[in-house]
Amino acid sequence: MSAMALPLGKDLVGLEHLTSEQILQILDTAEPFKEISERRIKKVPVLRGKTIVNLFFEASTRTRVSFEFAEKRLSADTVNISASGSSVVKGETLVDTARNLEAMRIDMVVMRHGASGAARFLAERIPSHVINAGDGWHEHPTQGLLDLLTIRDHLGRLDGLKVCIVGDILHSRVARSNIYGLRTLGAEVAVCGPRTLLPPMVEELGCHVLPHIEDAIQWADVLNVLRLQLERMESGYVPSLREYNRIWGVTSERMDAAPRDILILHPGPMNRGVEIDSDVADGSHSVILNQVTNGVAVRMAVLYLLAGGQPERAEAAKQGGEA
């Protein structure tokens, strides 16, 4: 297949450098794929004969499982490699791991890695398609895409919406992918959290900074609430989880003061009672489980497009044609 035929290029390493047309193409392609997961027999032959390696250098359950479902429902052959027990822990370099996989003639690599830039690094060095499943603090593009799809599903648009990302922005690849994708599609983005957990000069990434969660709730159409990892407290970014909840927690009392309905997203896994209270997470405005469902469809769309599928042929491809 020629590069011309690939609407996304060879790889998906991030949303920062995608155009709004490319992002919308992925979201639109995800629509027909949603239905596959609702069938009794959840399998179509779109990626039959393709070999995909899920290469996870960091622990992941949700993302890895979501990719694996997407791959299997498109009939790809998949292999999972996780850091523990692999040659990685025996000191093999990323380049050597990649070259060895390449030598076994694979088609795609889905990689999660702890270092920012790792996905791009791999993509520049192997001819297979690379999908970034999270690189350090940098990007997690499929999470960003499933967030965009979920917001669009519920509010009908992205352009002109006000989305506030709440919590640990500094260490969050989800936050960066959200910022880039949302801004490209015309949404206004704010971040809210303790200054210790905001990236330096985050304003210059095109975000408003809202120090107080009350202000965020007044301002936003959508809150994307990030997980506060326990280790952030241990390394001193916040004094205690209790204090974090008291000052930045998304609670039903605070939500009651909202001037409009606010959509609640969370990339999971949640710390109930820390960044979000249970009655908000389980409440009527929460679309957290819709995000998970959309994750599979978005990943199917990305796999399909990178494998050379054309967006307008996605519906037909489901019926038995190959990508």
């Binding site: 603090w137 990007e139 690849r173």
Partner: protein, 427 residues
């Protein structure tokens, strides 16, 4: 037994004698001999035509990493000294962050011996400030100086303990050597991989803020003032750092300070795409900082150009950005970079360049050379200021290739490097 060499008809630039004129330079028995007005050239002297070329006191780099002992796959003292000669350097000062570190007279003696054996550029050892570079107690400074050390530093790491830095600045005065510091408060920067700013935020990389350098520059200046000791600040990269050094010099504090070629010509933008060949410590900083470093070089606040030559094996840099080591090689590109991007852009003149790359480094570290005055050691660099060439890392004499300057077209290239009256490199 060195031969007699007459460098004929070159433009001799020697700021130590306020000299910039076309004349001959005669080297006999390893020393510069007055050539007079056309006469006095011995019949058996080898005449080398230098017309169209620039003849200067040999370049001196007071900040290089030669990796031996311990990391000979990156560089050895022999390959580093050869790389220096190929870059027009006649003397280099080897940092002690080897494995084991150079923290005792035996280690210093080893570096001296390997340097003599290499017989390229002169290699001067710099010893550690603290035993094992651990930041604990003072190393055997006096005995290291006896064995040939010309300065002390824990470079690679800063001295975090201000009390230890005070002791070093006091103790070193007996021996007349500078205390060189890599100014960095690592409590602010240890996790960082590049300059802290909007770019690090975008790339999702932890940053090293300017303040991490500024705080230690300020501290070192205060301690030099307190003790009367000579502080040599390495690879200065921040605008506030430059300003503080300027003020301290005006107060009479004994401070000398380096600018590295990469901090004079590159900003953090070179990191785009997670390019590990643009990863070094201190990191490439903002345009505003680069401007300040350039102004500091021009007005003499930063009195020395030093490369911080830091070789790494290619597969060590072939890694995700956060996992790649800091540092770039610099010996074979320094002259071309400074000529092309500093001198020819009008920031400093040729004479000031030689002052910063030869005369002042010799003074700051009390080294022979830095002058072509009668009787001086016959350490001479001859370069063609107009030769246009393209940097090809594969052609480096150094063992390592880690440079951000690959493919750059430069104007000005060394032609002849003479150490002690002996030609150690020619092109």
């Amino acid at each position: 037994m060195s031969e007699k060499i007459c460098l004929r008809g070159g433009r001799v630039v020697d700021p130590s004698q306020s000299l910039d004129e076309v004349r001959d330079v005669l080297l006999v028995d390893g020393h510069v001999v007055s050539s007079g007005e056309g006469g006095g050239i011995p019949e058996d002297a080898r005449i080398i035509d230098c017309s169209g070329l620039v003849v200067t006191p040999g370049l001196i780099d007071v900040h290089v990493h030669l990796r031996e002992p311990g990391e000979e796959h990156k560089e050895t003292i022999a390959t580093g000294a050869a790389s220096a000669a190929a870059g027009g350097f006649t003397s280099i000062c080897a940092m002690p962050n080897t494995d084991p570190p150079i923290d005792d007279p035996a280690g210093v003696g080893f570096v001296v011996a390997q340097g003599r054996k290499a017989a390229k550029a002169r290699v001067y050892p710099v010893g550690c400030i603290s035993v094992g570079r651990s930041g604990g107690r003072l190393a055997l400074v006096g005995e290291m100086v006896d064995a040939g050390a010309v300065a002390i530093t824990d470079d690679g790491s800063p001295v975090m303990d201000s009390g230890l830095m005070r002791l070093a600045l006091e103790y070193a005065q007996t021996f007349g050597i500078p205390v060189a510091d890599h100014p960095e408060d690592i409590t602010l920067s240890a996790k960082g991989h590049m300059n802290e700013g909007v770019m690090s935020s975008r790339l999702g990389l932890a940053g090293k803020p300017n303040a991490s350098e500024d705080i230690h520059v300020a501290r070192d200046l205060m301690l030099a003032e307190l003790t009367g000791g000579h502080i040599h600040l390495q690879h200065c990269s921040t605008r506030h750092g430059v300003e503080m050094i300027r003020q301290a010099k005006a107060r009479g504090v004994r401070v000398t300070a380096e600018a590295s070629p990469h901090h004079l010509v590159l900003t953090e933008a070179a990191v785009e795409g997670y390019r590990t060949e643009a990863k070094m410590n201190p990191p490439l900083r903002s345009q505003e900082d680069v401007e300040a470093v350039r102004v500091g070089l021009a007005d003499g606040t930063l009195d020395t150009i030093a490369t911080d030559h830091a070789p790494h094996h290619y597969d060590e840099k072939e890694a995700a950005f956060a996992e790649a080591p800091n540092g770039i090689v610099g010996l074979e590109t320094a002259l071309g970079i400074v000529l092309t991007r500093v001198v020819k852009e009008g920031l400093i003149d040729l004479s000031t360049m030689i002052e910063r790359m030869s005369c002042q480094p010799a003074r700051a570290f009390n080294l022979p050379g830095g002058t072509l005055a009668e009787g001086a050691v016959a350490d001479v660099t001859v370069f063609d200021p107009n030769e246009v060439w393209t940097v090809d890392p594969a052609a480096f004499v150094s063992k390592s290739r880690n440079t951000p300057f690959g493919g750059w077209e430069l104007e000005g290239r060394p032609r002849l490097t003479i150490v002690g009256g002996r030609i150690v490199w020619s092109a």
